[in-house]
């Protein structure tokens, strides 16, 4: 199964019955799969007239307390930014999938991670975060989609799958099982009062600054809980590592090959792979800064996550960056060279 298809099937198994989207390479298989499956299971697939329409449809279904998702690729996500911010203001849970391609602008269609900053800083105006999950295999495309729905409901916030063209297009074996959906209080949802209760209001507009401040403070209390309880990462060959590679998604897969080659040469190198990009795994990186002499970041962008690594490690250790941009993927050889450079105590070229 392709990564994009795994996301779609996992969403269905997670109870999502509403999908709104607009086609864009390299994520179109998500929509194509939904178009095929949703009518058969009593769900709703709708190809909207634009990305902006699609995200506002997501807002509508989320307001009714139902699991809902949309998917797109980089330029399309920018178009959805307004709606994503409105959903944050209205505290609405939903899942947004970004199968990234090279940017800026219309950019290209090859794999990229250049929306890291956009995703981890909310991606639009206002004080808010998205819960950002970065899969590195087709299995994780499915697993993190399911998790994304659960966490979105739990914290009443939008979760984002931040994948890339490689993850979307590649096939790997994957197991997706129906599962129980955790109980979640959605008494806030617009389900009709039936004259039995006070009306609920879903809105992102608040003209009283003190009221708006109170709402933002409450939202950040939930964010604090997310940062405390929901950090996820993979630690690979880090036990005795003197060099720590940090990479997520496809970059982490490439890095693993390079690490295994370098290990054969006796270089003590390991990998910390953030699975949640927000919340960022600060604690393990801080700990690694105590035991490792240097860091290497591998990204499919000009160097965005590296800033979070600098913050997490409090700039205690030198960081070598190994980046390719515009849709180019760093090769295992390039990462290997960066590792050897770090071993010699060198700096980035």
């Amino acid at each position: 199964m392709k990564g994009n298809e795994a996301i779609a099937e996992a969403a269905i198994q997670a109870g999502c019955r509403h999908y709104f989207g607009y086609p864009i390479t390299p994520q179109t298989e998500v929509a194509a799969y939904m178009a095929k499956r949703m009518p058969k299971i009593g769900g709703c697939f709708l190809q909207a007239e634009s990305e902006i329409a699609a995200i506002n449809m997501v807002y509508g279904v989320a307001s009714a307390g139902k699991r809902v998702m949309t998917s797109s690729s980089s330029p399309g996500i920018s178009l959805k930014g307004e709606g994503i911010s409105y959903m944050a203001g209205a505290n609405l849970p939903a899942l947004v999938v970004n199968v990234q391609r090279g940017g800026p602008g219309l950019g290209g269609i090859q794999p990229s991670q250049s929306d890291y900053n956009q995703a981890t800083r909310g991606g639009a105006h206002g004080d808010f975060h998205l819960l950002v999950l970065a899969p590195a295999s087709v299995q994780e495309m499915a697993d993190l989609t399911m998790l994304g729905f659960d966490l979105a409901d739990k914290y009443r916030m939008t979760a984002m799958i931040l994948a890339d063209g490689t993850m979307g297009q590649m096939m790997e074996p994957v197991e997706i099982h129906p599962r129980e959906i955790p109980e979640c209080d959605k008494s806030w949802a617009l389900t009709g009062t039936k004259m039995q209760r006070e009306r609920n209001i879903i809105n992102s507009l608040s003209m009283d600054p003190y009221d708006l401040e109170r709402m933002n403070l409450e939202r950040y209390e939930r964010y604090a809980a997310v940062e405390r309880d929901e950090v996820r990462y993979e630690s690979y060959r880090m036990d005795d590592a003197e060099i720590c590679v940090v990479a997520f998604g496809i970059a982490a897969r490439v890095a693993k090959n390079a690490i295994n080659e370098a290990r054969k040469q006796g270089v003590k190198v390991g990998l910390i792979r953030p699975i949640t990009l927000w919340p960022f795994p600060k604690a393990p990186l801080k700990a690694a800064a105590e035991t490792c002499k240097s860091f290497i970041t591998v990204e499919l962008n000009m160097g965005q996550m590296v800033d979070d690594v600098r913050l997490a490690t409090e700039c205690k250790r030198p960081i070598i960056t190994c980046n390719r941009t515009g849709g180019v993927i760093p090769s295992a050889a390039e990462v290997y060279n960066a590792i050897m450079n770090a071993q010699k105590g060198g700096q980035a070229e």
């Binding site: 269609i109 297009q169 096939m171 790997e172 897969r253 490439v254 693993k256 295994n260 090769s331 295992a332």
Partner: protein, 178 residues
């Protein structure tokens, strides 16, 4: 044991399909597998390729920079990827479509006139599978039960007759001797 395949040629030659077949066969044999296509504005007549990894170990990067098995069905692909093959690797050439010989001397080479064989046996669209049959035979991995099993997964249920054609094409490649 790990095989990294790079399968390259023109769009429409069934390269992605051949890769899909190999990856399903690997999966059904209990191996770790990945399949990554080139994607984009490539269409029939343009260039296309896919990376396939079949391994006893978990697959790291799904990107094949240096294949140990290269299957090429057009000249631009041979020109582009010949030097990328690891020393001791194997190149499978559709010699109907590629007139030149492989320049490398540190790799094994099989020349199979797959497109001609396919045309002669009335299966013009299955040169891809003739080459794939030769690959499996040369690597000592032609196991009929797994071959059939994998074919059932990749051949559309809407076209059951294609199962037999694919099976025949694979056998044709397997039995071809230069």
């Amino acid at each position: 044991m790990t095989h990294s395949y790079l399968i390259a040629g023109f769009g429409g030659q069934g390269l992605l399909f051949a890769g899909k077949f190999l990856v399903y066969k690997g999966m059904l044999e209990g191996k770790e597998v990945s399949w990554l296509p080139s994607y984009g504005p490539a269409m029939r007549g343009g260039t296309a390729n896919c990376s396939v990894i079949v391994s006893d170990e978990p697959v790291g990067s799904p990107i094949v920079d240096h294949p140990d098995v290269l299957m090429v069905m057009n000249l631009p692909s041979l020109d582009k990827y010949e030097d990328a093959v690891v020393p001791g690797g194997t190149i499978f050439v559709d010699s109907t479509l590629i007139e030149r010989k492989v320049k490398r001397t540190d790799v094994n080479v099989y020349y199979v006139p797959a497109t001609k064989l396919a045309a002669e046996s009335g299966m013009t669209t299955l040169a891809n599978m003739i080459l794939t049959g030769k690959i499996m035979q040369a690597l000592g991995e032609y196991d009929q039960a797994h071959v059939d099993d994998a074919l059932h997964h990749v051949v559309s249920a809407k076209h059951p007759e294609m199962f037999d054609f694919n099976q025949k094409a694979l056998a044709l490649g397997r039995d071809y001797q230069e």
